[in-house]
Symmetry: C2
Subunit: 307 residues, 2 copies
Amino acid sequence: MSILVVGSVAFDDITSPSGSVKNILGGAATYFALAASYFTQVRVVAVVGDDFGPEQECVFHKHGIDTRGIERAKGKTFRWGGSYAGNLNEAKTDFTDLNVFQTFQPQIPKEYQDTEFLFLANIQPTLQANVRREMQGVSLTGCDTMNYWINRTPKELAETLKLVDVLLINDTEAKMLAGETNLPRAAHKVLAMGPQALVIKHGEYGATIFFRERAFGIGRHPFRAPALPLEEVKDPTGAGDSFAGGFMGYVASQKAVNREVLKRALFYGSVMGSFAVERFGTEGLQVLTRAEIDARFETFRELTHLE
Amino acid sequence: MSILVVGSVAFDDITSPSGSVKNILGGAATYFALAASYFTQVRVVAVVGDDFGPEQECVFHKHGIDTRGIERAKGKTFRWGGSYAGNLNEAKTDFTDLNVFQTFQPQIPKEYQDTEFLFLANIQPTLQANVRREMQGVSLTGCDTMNYWINRTPKELAETLKLVDVLLINDTEAKMLAGETNLPRAAHKVLAMGPQALVIKHGEYGATIFFRERAFGIGRHPFRAPALPLEEVKDPTGAGDSFAGGFMGYVASQKAVNREVLKRALFYGSVMGSFAVERFGTEGLQVLTRAEIDARFETFRELTHLE
């Protein structure tokens, strides 16, 4: 099955205690696409500028990612600079130059209309909703958002949430969206806004999936996947998008979507997030094999499984 | 098998978003003893004042806890007041009246000398070391400590750590003790200080156990137990001590101590912590049956186990 991701492609400058890099390929759609490419056929809708050349395109093509939906606009590609100190849990944004991303209007190529799965990376909620409405044939839609949209465009976001099946956000975003400090209570409030399932990412502590009653079958919930305690975290940038890529990519690779598939997907999300943070930028996602991914999946399973 | 806990018995005033209580039975040794009592025979060494009467003693006796080691001193019992707001993750201490606890010198009754397991709750490290040296016959010693001793008495604490088998502390304490912000690296530094195993508690995200190489058998490590996402957290006081009671109590109930037992113990620790926080004070630990505990153990297992 194929999956379409709509979101940002960017150039990043990143500084962490492990070093510093400049002008490396980044953006939510990039991390997502690379992570998902190990599981399924990936298509991308994004916008880039004149500075996006064959070198960058090659990163996508090496992983069989369809880039026909990446629009070339006049000007520069979206650029972001961020720094991490100490515990690496939070990025300090050094600069954000939206450039061609500022006026991004997602255009879905005709050849993409038959895509079965859709992931709306973190962009303005109305753009997300428009894409979802255009892609009537998708069987499952995943979605990300952030504090900025939760605070600034709550009405637009509420409309988008009615159109998505799985929302993937972090603890802070879930609590803010629900106006509730208790996590499971926040989860139930968010589910009441529309999604059938809600994945809450806990950073170094893993992620939890909550389900609406009877959504994707019957079963106890929630379900939690751990994160691997990693000795070396070089660069947390893109961890959440890589998580989403592993999660959605695995789901898209399965014949049916049920709770057991979504639970395994949660583990694959954690796995891809762990590979992403071990190197700078997308480097950790570029050099993998499916065998390495499955070996780490087993490590994650052993991390919490009793005999 | 029997287990001896040495630590505080106290009266607490607690305020949380769910309400307020005064003069309720508390203290690390109390939470530990109640939690462990569902698994094994528990003995307590502590000090109380004139205000500790039959009503309080009865709470211990109802759970078959041996209180011959609770010394009666002239004066008042240790009193603590704390408040929780918002996300309940941190207590604001309103007052601490050490009272008779200020000059606590643990006295081990002769009848306790044959105890097989020992837990040194959070008290001054030299007192912990003295107890450990006196109890030469124990087969396994667990230990807790806190930021106060890590900062104020690092040398004394270092001596104590050489004498214990399992240290149970939280993320912040582990990082502070190791002088290291990365959790697994911090864990390895702490293990090099003496313990064979280190349990790091993550609050609402569960706990991780790290092992010294070849300690308690061979196997991959670390291992992680989740915490149950609870809709109702009334009072987080004593969660860590209840965790320790479930963990050590389960270990003491088993024929041998190996990695599989310690992994299951980590789950039982999380289980007892979850019961503790659902009601005020020790109330959540007083009304349980072993069947309820095992049912929640299965819920925890299902929370992370793939089919």
